[in-house]
């Protein structure tokens, strides 16, 4: 199969996954009890008001027909309007306003996590069993076991309310001010990156240690290559494959798993939008968020595969 054909198959697969995912999410949402009309109109809503709401948003139509109506509109790029959590607002607009925040904070945390884990994982592996390793490994255990919301509050109390270096609440969108986003996003990015850095560092350390004892490393050493050269070309490069894969897996967490942190710091992100929409029975918003997530996760998986192929060309076959 040619490379182009392989890639088009891959895209077809992504499209099918998105479609199946969208349908599954829709059916699950519909199966849950609760009525968006009551969320908007309140429990005192008279039946006429509830009926008018249902009719207006086609909520009285059969479920499959509702899905079809939604699907046809979505194909045309129209995700509709929010029902219950931002009544009447364009969903595309909501997501467009929030996605940059989510991506920005995610990348910010990811970069912090990668920098810290590269340093920690490498030092721990090179100093295996010594003080530096013990310290790095202990920090990693701490990073994994600290709940992120708890860490968030600790950071707020120490660095915002304590010494006053950072704002205690509020996030400036990168669209408004990049430096403002870097500044106001620092504490949440640290809170998000801590458990990630810990996982990354442990993965890297384990991979480095495992590779350091492989035969090809011994052979390289017997050739008399410099230790630094061996480490960079034979050990580190190969260790990057599991490392990059683990990073790719974290994207899902960055999109949907940081809702609590988004709320603590007041970041208008897509994760909290989706959670609020699910609780508010805002079906079209949940659908649009789910699709956004699916596309991003599948896209990132695709990129991770490409990166791994680049790191290890044998994978292309």
């Amino acid at each position: 199969m040619s490379r182009a054909a392989a890639i088009s198959w891959r895209f077809l697969g992504i499209a099918l996954t998105v479609l199946v995912g969208a349908f599954a999410v829709f059916m699950v949402m519909k199966a849950a009890p609760g009525d968006p009309a009551l969320v908007v109109l309140g429990e005192q809503a008279p039946p006429e008001a509830v009926a008018a709401f249902h009719q207006r948003y086609h909520l009285d139509a059969p479920v499959l027909e509702q899905f079809w109506l939604w699907f046809v509109a979505a194909l045309g790029g129209d995700f509709g309007r929010s029902l219950t959590i931002a009544g009447g607002t364009s969903i595309s607009g909501l997501i467009a306003a929030r996605l940059p925040n989510t991506i920005f904070i995610g990348l910010y945390a990811l970069i912090l996590g990668v920098i810290v884990s590269l340093a920690m994982g490498t030092i721990a592996a090179l100093r295996r069993g010594r003080v530096a390793d013990t310290v790095a490994t202990s920090i990693a255990v701490l990073g994994i076991s600290m709940p992120d919301f708890w860490l968030s509050y600790v950071l707020v109390f120490a660095f915002a309310l304590g010494v006053g270096w950072f704002p205690s609440y509020g996030f400036v969108s990168p669209g408004q001010s990049l430096s403002g986003a870097l500044y106001s996003g620092f504490l949440p990015a640290v809170a998000i990156s801590a458990p990630m850095a810990a996982v990354f560092a442990r993965t890297l350390r384990a991979a480095l240690l495992e590779l350091a004892h492989r035969e090809f490393v011994t052979v390289a050493r017997s050739f008399g290559f410099a230790e630094v050269f061996i480490f960079l070309h034979f050990v580190f490069r190969n260790a990057l494959i599991p490392y990059v894969t683990v990073i790719g897996l974290q994207v899902r967490y960055l999109l949907g798993g940081v809702v609590v942190i988004e709320r603590i710091f007041g970041i208008a992100g897509v994760g909290s939008l989706m959670v609020d929409a699910a609780f508010g029975r805002d079906y079209p918003v949940v659908e649009a968020c789910a699709i956004t997530f699916l596309v991003i996760v599948l896209g990132v998986n695709f990129l991770v595969d490409l990166a791994c192929t680049f790191l290890d060309p044998r994978r292309a076959n």
């Binding site: 609760g34 009551l38 270096w165 205690s168 400036v172 208008a268």
Partner: protein, 523 residues
């Protein structure tokens, strides 16, 4: 050594300076620093909520929607700081013996677009709410109205089908939906657009509104009260977590919060850099007992579970002391109808509880599920209640936790045995008793029906004398308690936190907010 310390210090102060600089120059839209006191900006967080679907009073139901609506609009009437009804857009009003109302309007009131407010706008607003096609969720507030007549530009007469005492309350600028709208603008814009860019008579107008993020208000140049508002603008960030509201206030990111977490209040009260406003709120939290399903179809069992728990202990555990125990549905702030006497059947008495259980057809070991939601204090109410009742009576009540939406749906369908319930911000006794206890009341999820009580509640609605009306409600509550269709638990406090720079904030028990912005100034 000394040198190093000095270096450390200077580095820290440098960082502090840099971050202070960054705070001012990199600030987001509502993180802006304020210019002087005149035309100053108040940063009033909406805490604990982040959903505003509409700012059209005719369509609004959620309390955060009203937090904003109260600043943009006025009602014909309003509550003063003593919770007495006083004229607002009306200059004066009178109640005829048949319950009809006549309002004399202020002549100089202008909407934000500069147009004059007249009796035609009042007529339009009320008729719009009454219109079946408009399907307003607030229709019940005005459904007693038969006819609205604009006698002359400043006189409105409202005729009711029969005397309806709560109507005066329902015409205030509270959680009522009867705030007065501009006829011309609404007709021109259409309901949908008006709900997004509302035009009212209030002290503030909407400048910008980003869904789930913030509402920005600016002072109206046309406001009809001389010298008000004192502020130039109000920024209202929507802060979904109450605890984040606290950190935002403590970190000087906002000046005022709309709520505070119960658990934090005792600690916050010790601080000198903020002020805590608190009072018993307009709310009653209770447990609805479904009369259509065992075991709560038995009056003795219902009485037993009410006698079997200590309300004071519940207030301490669930609210951290931030509330008072309830012996009926009407909260203490509705003074004219509130009966402060503790009642025997709503006071913890293990021996009496066991007596009632002995008379019941259900015995110790009886099972039942109590429906509640979330992870916060609503759930704790159910946990504390079932634990105490089980301990006293040897019953096997358990807590069934789901989320709020499912609870609504199951309550409406009558699909529950017991369910924790309550609400915030209703201002008339009719909303507490008639809606919950009348056999066809729309919040009577428990399927309770007592014709004698029904008569009493209808009589109370029609009684225009406030004193007599209050007496009828006291009788109704005494009668209700004998049947115990619901188990009253407590009334929780309402809280606001304010920076010491804020002055002129007036807290009312219905959790008011936007309506008090006009009197606020900031140092």
């Amino acid at each position: 050594m000394a040198k190093r310390r000095r270096n450390g210090l200077s580095r820290r102060s440098l960082l502090k300076g840099a971050s202070a600089l960054a705070m001012t120059s990199l600030a987001g839209p509502w993180l802006v620093g304020r210019a002087g006191a005149v035309g100053a900006t108040l940063r009033a967080g909406i805490t604990g909520y982040d959903v505003i679907n509409t700012l059209d009073p005719g369509k609004a139901t959620l309390i955060p929607e009203y937090y904003v609506i109260w600043a943009i609009f006025n009602g014909l009437l309003k509550f003063d700081e003593k919770m007495e009804i006083v004229p607002d857009l009306a200059e004066s009003y009178k109640v005829e013996p048949d319950g009809s109302l006549e309002f004399k309007l202020h002549a100089n009131v202008k909407f934000h677009d500069g147009s004059a407010m007249t009796s035609e706008d009042v007529k339009f607003t009320l008729e719009r709410l009454l219109d079946d096609k408009f399907a307003s969720p607030n229709r019940s507030k005005v459904s007693a109205i038969d006819q609205v007549t604009a006698v002359d530009p400043t006189t409105v007469r409202i005729k009711t089908k029969e005397p309806f005492a709560p109507l005066l309350t329902f015409l205030t600028n509270a959680r009522t939906g009867t705030q007065i709208l501009p006829k011309g603008a609404v007709e021109q814009m259409g309901a949908e657009a008006f709900g997004r860019k509302p035009i009212g008579t209030g002290a503030f107008m909407v400048k910008e509104w980003t869904a789930k993020e913030r509402v920005a208000l600016e002072a109206s140049p046309h406001y009809f009260y001389q010298g008000l508002p004192k502020l130039g603008a109000v920024e209202m960030p929507l802060i979904p977590e109450e605890s984040s509201g606290v950190t935002a206030l403590l970190g000087n990111q906002i000046d005022l919060t709309s709520t505070a977490p119960f658990a934090d209040v005792p600690e916050l009260e010790k601080r000198t850099d903020i002020r805590v406003f608190r009072q018993a709120g307009l709310n009653t939290r209770f447990i609805a007992l479904n009369h259509r399903k065992p075991p709560f179809d038995d009056v003795h069992f219902r009485r037993a579970v009410s006698l079997a728990f200590d309300r004071e202990a519940m207030v301490k555990v669930v609210l951290f002391g931030e509330g008072v125990s309830s012996h009926g549905l009407i909260p203490p702030s509705l003074k004219f109808a509130y009966d402060p006497k503790p009642r025997e059947l709503t006071t913890f008495n293990a021996a009496r509880a066991k007596e009632e259980l002995a008379k019941s057809k259900y015995k110790a070991g009886t099972e039942a599920a109590i429906l509640t939601w979330g992870a916060g204090w609503w759930k704790r109410v159910a946990e504390v209640w079932t634990a105490q009742v089980n301990q006293t009576l040897g019953t096997v009540l358990r807590v069934e936790v789901t989320e709020a939406n499912t609870v609504y749906a199951r309550q409406r369908a009558g699909d529950f045995q017991g369910s924790v319930w309550g609400w915030l911000g209703f201002v008339d006794p009719d909303e507490y008793l008639y809606d919950v206890l009348y056999s066809k009341g729309y919040r009577n999820f428990q399927g309770y029906s007592n014709p004698k009580l029904d008569d009493l509640l209808v009589k109370a609605r029609q009684e225009l004398d406030r004193g007599k009306r209050g007496q009828l409600y006291k009788e109704a509550e005494a009668m209700m308690i004998e049947d115990m269709p619901i188990v009253p638990c407590f009334c929780s406090n309402v809280h606001n936190l304010a920076s010491t720079k804020v002055s002129g904030f007036v807290q009312l028990p219905y959790s008011n907010y936007g309506d008090t912005f006009q009197s606020i100034s900031i140092a």
